[in-house]
Symmetry: C2
Subunit: 221 residues, 2 copies
DNA sequence: TAATTAAGTTAGATTAATCTAACAAATAAA
DNA sequence: TTTATTTGTTAGATTAATCTAACTTAATTA
């Protein structure tokens, strides 16, 4: 079945929203509309259409969620997105914060052969430049059990494995702090007043990072 | 100025048609519509729109041609198309006849940085896999003075430098004959009955090729 | 539980790209 | 030079994706 550019974006958005919140693999109309930058009325119409096509489960005034077919389609798009990001980063020397925008366009190119050839060319990467796993051609994706920086106790060290927030502002901030995949971070102190952390990046002098920041970095001990 | 996918395709089509016929750098409505696979009425509407945007010269019931701005836009699209074809062929191991279709999609990706990085990655190629020149970022393109196989006299030899016809059937036929860029061809005889040629490909045993075939291959002595 | 607020839907309009059918202009032929 | 043919245009409709404004349902709270 052929999906339009827009339909693909709705599926992808739904997948992203659903995979973030554990217990609730579904999204509301306003939530989706806000995420996609359209009005709720627009989203409602699209929900009906996607339901017709068997890609989502949805009832009037209810939540929306992906069917198995819808999920599979979303994974294929995510796969393309992440492979292209890897290409841009590894081969074309794009920086961390630049890859997303262009990959948003490239992910919609229709050619199975292109994707598999690209994957081969990149050497079957497991993760994209942000540390997110790349789904396989069959839709398989390693379930990533992720720990965030906030989970660490005082005195513990870790390595950055991925970013939770992929906004340009965040990625540029990371670049300014000299943080990328693999960077070592040690928690020196937790400030009880506002929950912020004193951390040492690559064993440099300590600096303070906000809760929001510590919640946005995936790490491994 | 932002161009839609469709507008880009009209400009590209117009450029192709115009650059083929020497004396007449303009196209008719039916001609364009047929080329693009739409109805003439649709083309008329688009002509008005493109004129509004200053991309074409056009008057009711008249021919259509590119303005300087329109031509520049067309060249940028052609540049992207040919760089992507080169990428697919050189890096992803696509065959001659497969590159076009995917490049038709890739050429519409909007990112100047992507194009220049890609060009750099490919080592600033001058020609695409079909032997066609790749426009530079500023729109410059080497004026290709091309000779076709039909131009050769009996006994003369040449090397294939490009294909005039990029249809899949033709490219696959070339593949079957073992012809690609650089292949040596010698004209053994011209059959006066139908204008067909007896040729030797890479000094192999002679075989007959049609006028249409000989008109579709660009060669150099 | 009744009232208020938040969330979601419907109806009607808009824009881009397309179509068909009917019409008009330009060109070619008799 | 009048007619026939080709070429091109206009008008009106359609589809996909979007909007605004008005309305409905669900959830919250007093």
């Amino acid at each position: 079945m052929m999906l339009s550019y827009t339909e693909e974006n709705y599926l992808k958005a739904l997948f992203k929203i659903c995979s973030q919140c554990e217990g609730k693999p579904e999204a509301g109309t306003n939530e989706m509309a806000a995420y996609l930058g359209v009005k709720p009325a627009t989203a409602t119409d699209m929900f009906k259409k996607l339901k017709e096509k068997g890609l989502v489960d949805y009832e009037r005034y209810g939540k929306i969620s992906l069917t198995e077919i819808g999920k599979n389609n979303a994974l294929i798009i995510l796969r393309k997105h992440r492979l292209w990001e890897t290409f841009l980063y590894q081969k074309l020397d794009f920086s961390w914060d630049e890859v997303h925008e262009v990959a948003e366009q490239l992910e919609h190119i229709q050619s199975e052969k292109l994707v598999s050839k690209l994957e081969d060319f990149l050497g079957y990467p497991e993760f994209d430049p942000h540390g997110d796993p790349i789904p396989k051609a069959n839709g398989d994706m390693p379930p990533t059990v992720k720990m965030i920086l906030s989970d660490l106790k005082i005195g513990e060290s870790c390595r950055v494995v991925a970013v939770k927030d992929t906004s340009v502002v965040f990625l540029q901030y990371l670049k300014r702090l000299g943080i990328s995949i693999g960077t070592k971070i040690t928690v020196i102190e937790k400030v009880s007043f506002d929950g912020s952390l004193q951390v040492s990046i690559d064993d440099q002098e300590a600096r303070n990072v906000s809760v929001k920041f510590a919640d946005s970095l995936f790490v491994a001990k």
